[in-house]
Point group: C2
Chain length 237, copies 2
């Protein structure tokens, strides 16, 4: 059962960053965080009233938070049955991966056609090195984090804010599933090399090659994940 470990007001005292934020924003972030962590689990339903009581705030900001989360694709609002964390099926993951493949390959293409600074390259190289390190030390969580950082840097460097936002949105939807399967999949030894190859193609200004490399990287990832989900009979998560 979903329960919060602290109330909003406690959070507000502790957390200096949220001091001036509207309650709706705080509630939005708090609920979102718990969904991504899998503390508020897929398929689980919670009544508005329950959220209100746990947060110690009124229905209005809770409702606003829910509306935003629904638009973001993380929950469904089911009238009279509260909100429900949208479970992600194998088909959903396929949808998400196809979108990320398209958008990130486009990002790779854009970067290859753009003049990047040393700093920019560093923001790609650093996560790649972190991935390698993490793999050597068998730290899968750290690896996943560095991998996310790389992919985020990729879209970030394009300067296309909308592209970045959409990628983050779907990344959010997929996040849970990726962490579930993290310890079940074979060691992602190929990823580091793919990233290095991609950066080289970008450096060489070869847009088609960069896009192609990243497309294949993502397709590989998609297949690994979908196979895993089917092997373990995860119908939805």
């Amino acid at each position: 059962m979903y329960t919060l470990t602290y109330t909003i007001k406690q959070k507000m005292q502790k957390d200096t960053t949220s001091e001036n934020l509207p309650l709706a924003e705080i509630a939005y972030r708090a609920i979102r965080e718990e969904i991504l962590n899998n503390q508020f689990k897929a398929g689980e339903q919670v009544l508005e009233k329950a959220l209100v009581e746990r947060f110690g705030i009124s229905r209005t900001p809770v409702r606003e938070a829910c509306v935003r989360l629904e638009k973001e694709g993380l929950i469904e609002i089911k009238p009279r049955h509260g909100i429900r964390v949208k479970p992600i099926s194998v088909e959903d993951m396929a949808e998400i991966y196809d979108i990320l493949t398209a958008l990130e390959s486009e990002a790779a293409r854009i970067l290859a056609e753009k003049q990047l600074t040393e700093e920019d390259y560093k923001s790609l190289a650093a996560p790649t090195e972190a991935m390698e390190q993490a793999l050597e030390n068998d730290q899968l969580e750290a690896w996943a984090e560095a991998d996310e950082a790389f992919h985020l840097a990729l879209v970030n460097l394009t300067g296309n804010q909308r592209l970045k936002q959409v990628v983050l949105q779907f990344w959010g939807q997929a996040h849970r599933v990726r962490y579930f399967t993290l310890h079940l999949r074979p060691k992602p030894t190929g990823s580091t090399q793919d990233h290095i190859d991609l950066v080289n193609a970008i450096k060489a200004g070869n847009a088609n090659l960069a896009a192609e490399i990243h497309r294949n990287h993502r397709i590989k990832g998609k297949h690994t994940l979908l196979n895993l989900l089917e092997t373990y009979r995860f119908v939805q998560l």
Copy 2:
């Protein structure tokens, strides 16, 4: 100045489709429609109070509608200054076109790898024919509508609901600008052929070619539009 021609309640009586919809949903659709039509113009600010009075409903559903529209990228909520229709700059259009290019090319690729029915092909061929017809009769609005229908069919046939939703979202953001420039641009005579070529590539099952054709089609469209915006010094719309 932005004024509604009818109140929500009048609309509810007329419009049987919205009979059971929540007021928040009705307000959302009404405001969205007026933004897309350019009745509620880019850069224009309206106070919540004004919307409440025009719609004859309370602040709560109006607010919910605004939150949704903000998430959708159509407006900004500016505390104490109401909501503001986000103007679209040349850079914004470039961002949007890059995303649509990536997603629709992916759609083309997916369709080429998929078995489509005769019905499916019809949903692509019909808008293409409509485009040709409209062009012959110099009906630019009809042409634009058919063109939209083609692009929508393209993503729709993939079966990827998320892909479709994202494309529609950005299409919504760009809609206004496309209509602005519709009568300023050279007759889009090449578009029909591009669409025919695309369908042929899909039929032939040539995924890379299909993606490539559509990518080039979109890039052409992007350049035409951006040049137009610069020629006419439309800094933002």
